[in-house]
């Protein structure tokens, strides 16, 4: 019965994603076209006849509404078109190669941020106002305030240049192997780690002050049972709510981190395609990111509902 409700709820949410994605696709399509320049206006001045030919090939010579409808049709068929820069591959092929890279990077960073962030938050809350608490929270503030494009190079400088322990850049190259993962994952995890640590601390402290924890103490439960059985579940709810934004941080962060560490993922394509006015490539990355974020939010909501019995699927 309940399981059935969950399934119906998930289906309804997935149907609900369609208008969201449609609006995102439509807006991005026209906003990109508003930007000055075109895919073929590069530094190398091409003869106008060549440009006209190229535009004809990708239908840029047609009226905009027609192009839009044509593009929508292609997307619905699962065809994201061609990059105007790299004509050797379809965009689908690009994504098939780049998405797993970004997903690996993002998933590792999120797992790291969650596990370390929650641990640090709980420890800080339990040792409230101690030296440990203050130093951990100072670290978290640092993590929130220092942007990734500063942290990344600093880590490279320390661990690669000075200490020589880790490779500066690259992705799973045969020589350095998994070691290439460490610095980018660390850099990407820092912001979310910091938010999650602070959120967890606040939330654990709040739960510890609640009436039902007083009841648990009055029952004679040990501190350990009070923390594990009574505090953590409720205290995790704000963290779960933060999963959506946390995922968004990871996605935007990957754009920066992939550039810093020269990682062949979606983020790097996103930046390059925007710079090149590579219309269809931009659209493709926007669509992929949008789908990922919408799904991440759905997952966060499902986890929340699983933790809080008061949530009703409707």
């Amino acid at each position: 019965m309940i399981r059935c409700n969950v399934l119906a709820y998930v289906l309804r949410r997935i149907v609900g994603m369609v208008p969201t994605l449609f609006i995102i696709v439509t807006l991005s399509f026209f906003i990109i076209r508003l930007a000055p320049g075109s895919p073929f206006s590069s530094e190398r001045n091409l003869p106008p006849s060549v440009i006209a030919n190229l535009e004809k090939k990708v239908h840029l010579d047609e009226p905009l509404p027609l192009q839009y409808l044509r593009y929508l049709g292609d997307v619905l068929r699962g065809d994201l078109g061609y990059s105007t820069k790299h004509v050797d591959f379809t965009i689908n092929e690009f994504i098939a190669r780049a998405l797993p890279v970004s997903m690996t990077l993002g998933a590792l960073a999120l797992v790291l941020a969650l596990s370390v962030g929650i641990t640090v938050g709980v420890v800080s809350a339990l040792k409230r106002n101690s030296l440990m608490d203050h130093s951990l929270m100072a670290l978290a503030i640092l993590g929130i305030s220092v942007p990734m494009f500063v942290i990344g190079p600093l880590l490279q400088l320390l661990f690669s240049v000075h200490l020589g322990w880790l490779p500066t850049a690259g992705w799973l190259s045969s020589r350095a192997g998994g070691l290439t993962l460490i610095l980018p994952v660390l850099t990407l995890a820092v912001t979310d780690f910091a938010y999650i640590a602070r959120l967890t601390r606040t939330s654990v402290l709040e739960v510890l002050r609640s009436d039902y924890i007083r009841t648990a103490r009055a029952k004679g439960l040990s501190q350990r049972a009070i923390i594990w059985k009574h505090t953590l579940r409720g205290a995790m709810l704000p963290v779960v709510s933060f999963l959506g934004p946390a995922f968004a941080n990871i996605v935007t962060g990957s754009v920066v981190v992939e550039s810093i560490f020269d990682i062949p993922g979606m983020g790097r394509f996103f930046v390059n395609s925007a710079l090149n006015r590579d219309y269809f490539m931009i659209m493709a990355t926007v669509i992929v990111y949008a789908v990922i974020l919408v799904i991440a939010n759905l997952i966060a909501d499902l986890v929340y509902a699983a933790l809080d019995p008061r949530v009703v699927y409707e």
């Binding site: 609640s210 009436d211 039902y212 009841t215 648990a216 439960l221 049972a225 933790l307």
Partner: protein
Amino acid sequence: MTEETILEVRDLCTHFRTDEGLVKAVDGVSFTLNDGETLGIVGESGSGKSVTNLSILRLLPQPPAIHSGGQILYRGRNILNMNESELRDIRGNKISMIFQDPMTSLNPYMRITHQIEETLMLHQGLPQKQAAEKAVELLAQVGIPDPRVRARQYPHQFSGGMRQRVMIAMALSCRPDILIADEPTTALDVTIQAQILDLIRELTRELGTSVILITHDLGVVAGICDNVAVMYAGRIVEYGPVEEIFARPQHPYTQGLLRSVPRLDLEPGEGRLYSIPGAPPSLVDLPEGCYFQPRCEHALPVCSRRYPPEFKTLGRRSACWLHHPEAERG
């Protein structure tokens, strides 16, 4: 009923260190609780009744709370000197507590049965299966219909009165010697209040559990308590048998409290409802002398100089200068 003392509170002082200064929430409170007795503690909010009882189980967070003096003797052992594991052995087992707000006192993320099982497994060493059986039994005992189904539910699926019943089931699950009920009916509908009080009275009588009932409802005290302690500004001002005190209140504060109870036997418009003038003093900045003196109609010159000692009069203790043999002369 055996007249054995099981709890003796002697000169208890519980203070709070705050930014505004030292708050003397409880300052020299003494009372005794006998086997099977029901003691009522009444007073306005902030008079220290809850703090007194949270001190008995040492449930106040320290800091800011400091137990700066006195003794709480449970069967002769001072609770204030116990270590954490001795305390845990008493909490929920020998002395248990139910709280004012049943809506927030149960863990919203745990099934009712698990919350009751916990105590049974911890203090009685029952295996989980048996504890679950016992939980259903307890729920039936506190009058929850369909207990087997209800046990599997979460607190939000229960009404306020039902949750308080669950709290009672939990508190009495280990047949404690003492049940502390901190305003157990204040947050409930009037129609439910009597049911809950009846339930507490019946079950504790059955188990021979002594009760400390904290309330500001004098009607409740008259109905079910043997003795009553009236608290004002962190101290007990009058303490003795309920019938005595209700029939002939000696302390001006008790007299005022009793006069402020609305009466149904008066016609509408016949006599305004009495209220004690003024407001309770700030616990950080207590007045010189008797704390009640600024609001007292009978204040003598001595009242603003020295806090009155307790006088034994008419079968009770009362802290008021009016009982001094030379009071007439001021």
